[in-house]
């Protein structure tokens, strides 16, 4: 199964930003928002230089992020806001543990790739991700290799989300 999309490198001064926490992704002043569609407006609403991201993002885009992305709180909205914008996958050097779970459970594909910064991928490039094997392609060539998802993670992703997965399984 392949995911195809246009890349956003979440960077500052040419470098991927590390330790983007959930308050920078979705600030705690919007925590009361329950409507998933509404969360889209506030993606990166507290990240300097990226506040206009919701206007720039397009359906099927892919994010490339630095280390420890999504550290901080357990808020699901920090995942929902990207899903509502149509973001299909996030490739990062590493992720906060809770964020990774939240993303997988909601059907947002997450790929850990410590060497992603070394790959020749710029904002605006079109890439493809082979989700079973974690291979990342540009112009038909493999440009990076991410850690593949575990079996359960892949099954949840394929089902669409944790609830749909559970309907087919009796864990």
């Amino acid at each position: 199964m392949m995911i195809r999309g246009r890349v956003w490198r979440i960077e500052r001064d040419g470098k991927l930003i590390d330790d983007i926490d959930t308050d920078m992704i979705f600030h705690n002043k919007y925590l009361h928002i329950v409507d998933k569609k509404e969360t889209a407006k506030y993606a990166f609403s507290n990240l300097d230089g990226w506040r206009d991201f919701p206007e720039k993002a397009r359906e099927n885009d892919i994010l490339i992020v630095g280390e420890n992305f999504g550290c901080g709180s357990s808020r699901q909205q920090a995942v929902d806001c990207f899903l509502s914008l149509g973001i299909k996958a996030i490739i990062g050097k590493s992720f906060g543990a809770i964020y990774k779970r939240n993303a997988i459970n909601s059907g947002l594909a997450i790929f850990e790739c410590p060497d992603i910064d070394k790959a020749d991928i710029k904002t605006g490039d079109e890439i493809e991700i082979d989700i079973e094997n974690g291979l990342i392609f540009k112009d038909g060539r493999v440009v990076a290799k991410a850690k593949p998802m575990t079996k359960v993670q892949l099954e949840i992703y394929r089902a669409g989300n944790l609830f749909k997965y559970a309907k087919h399984q009796s864990p």
Binding site: S73, S94, A97, I98, N161
Partner: protein
């Protein structure tokens, strides 16, 4: 087996091996006013009735915005209350305090138990040898419905504190010092803490250390319970408790020694809990406000040390001091012991229990150019308002509130 592996092994039918994903049975299933309404929505949208596996193991705890100061939170709390009444779920309402603490005090969470909540500091229960984990509302809804969750068994690292500090120190100083010493080495791991210094640490002090494992990037940090902690748990639970300890031949991914003999009052500079320096490096910096509370530093001992420093003194005229005990039980104790009066006389604002500053809760936020000292666990830009937040111990916070500038002692 390590502590996490032993707890997992008693809560799963799957083979517990590092890196494997297992299905874990959850003893205590909770949602807060933050996340709670989404949990209800997830259940109602994805299942057809029969939402709760076991109501006696399921709780709502309202602590984030207590009482609700926005319509959004008020609505969300009411959605949870209505759902809870319908399904026989107990609600620890806005008067109770921070959920993870309340459930430890109630004896519902103790060593060997598994607990989850919509609170990224739910791993705080590692302080008493329990497994806890903060999760998002999708996960929690699934746990409410099934009583289980999937979990990747993390590797465990063993952190040995060596030596004993000669000078002044507190559990918060140790927590900040450990964040700096570990760097990113705990990312995604379980930690077990050992060392002589832990013997000097009460339940309250252990909670402070365990609460900041989240900021270390760890899954959870276990502090093996000593006799004092076991007694505390037994008193709360009303039953005999035998703690879970690691096997002697347990396999650790790494052992890290941290020498604490030079431990001194520490402070995290604005921006990140890992920007840690000794307080002496920023001594004298003028401050505008002080927040003493949170799941990290709002327990009885934190109140006691705060009160001791404030007694007979006055908060500096340029400083707002906001004190927020973590739970109602602590509030009652300090009320009965006359501490509220002493802090009040010193000029402190004393709020009802809850998360307060950390969640844009009941004690307000910081304004632009405001310099705040906080005993909480996070100081990411914008989290507690537009001002600059420094993280420190209640001792440093209280002394600085009196002085009007950052200082270790008054």
């Amino acid at each position: 087996m390590t502590i996490i592996e032993k707890i997992f092994a008693s809560h799963t039918e799957d083979k517990v091996e590092v890196g494997e994903t297992i299905w874990l049975k959850i003893d205590v299933r909770t949602a807060r006013d933050f996340g709670g309404a989404q949990v209800v929505k997830n259940l109602e949208e994805n299942y057809e009735g029969d939402y709760i596996d076991d109501a006696s193991k399921t709780f709502f705890t309202f602590d984030t915005n207590a009482p609700a100061k926005t319509i959004g939170y008020a609505n969300n709390q009411q959605i949870c209350r209505i759902f809870a009444r319908k399904h026989g779920i107990k609600v620890y309402d806005v008067d109770s305090g921070i959920g993870s603490h309340v459930l430890m005090e109630e004896g519902i969470i103790h060593t060997g138990k598994t607990a989850v909540g919509t609170d990224s500091h739910y791993n705080i229960v590692g302080a008493i040898g329990a497994f806890g984990q903060g999760m998002g509302d999708v996960d929690i809804a699934f746990v409410f419905k099934t009583g289980k969750t999937w979990f990747e068994v993390p590797p465990t690292i063993k952190v040995n504190f060596t030596g004993m500090p000669e000078g002044m120190w507190s559990a918060k100083d140790l927590a900040l010092f450990t964040i700096k010493a570990l760097g990113k080495r705990a990312l995604g791991k379980a930690i077990e803490f050992y060392g002589e210094i832990l013997d000097k640490m009460s339940v309250d002090a252990r909670i402070t250390l365990a609460s900041m494992v989240t900021e270390m990037g760890g899954i959870i940090g276990f502090i093996p319970p000593n006799d004092e902690v076991i007694k505390w748990m037994e008193k709360n639970a009303g039953v005999k408790i035998s703690p879970v300890y690691a096997d002697e031949d347990a396999t650790y991914e790494k052992e890290i020694d941290i020498d604490v003999s030079n431990l001194q009052p520490m402070i995290a500079l604005p921006g990140s809990p890992s920007n840690v320096v000794p307080v002496s490096h920023v001594e004298g910096k003028a401050i505008d406000s002080v927040f003493i509370g949170s799941c990290t530093n709002g327990r009885y001992e934190d109140m006691k040390v705060t009160c001791k420093i404030l007694e007979g003194r006055k908060v500096h005229e340029n400083v707002m001091l906001k004190v927020v005990p973590t739970t109602r039980r602590i509030w009652k104790q300090i009320l009965e012991e006359g501490m509220i009066k002493k802090m009040f006389d010193a000029g402190a604002i004393i709020s009802n229990p809850g998360c307060a500053g950390c969640a844009a809760g009941q004690i307000g936020m910081t304004g632009e150019h405001e310099v705040q000292l906080s005993t909480a666990n996070r100081n990411f830009k914008g989290k507690q308002g537009l001002g600059d937040t420094y993280l420190c111990s209640p001792q440093t916070a209280a002394a600085s509130a009196v002085a009007g500038y950052i200082t270790e002692v008054i």
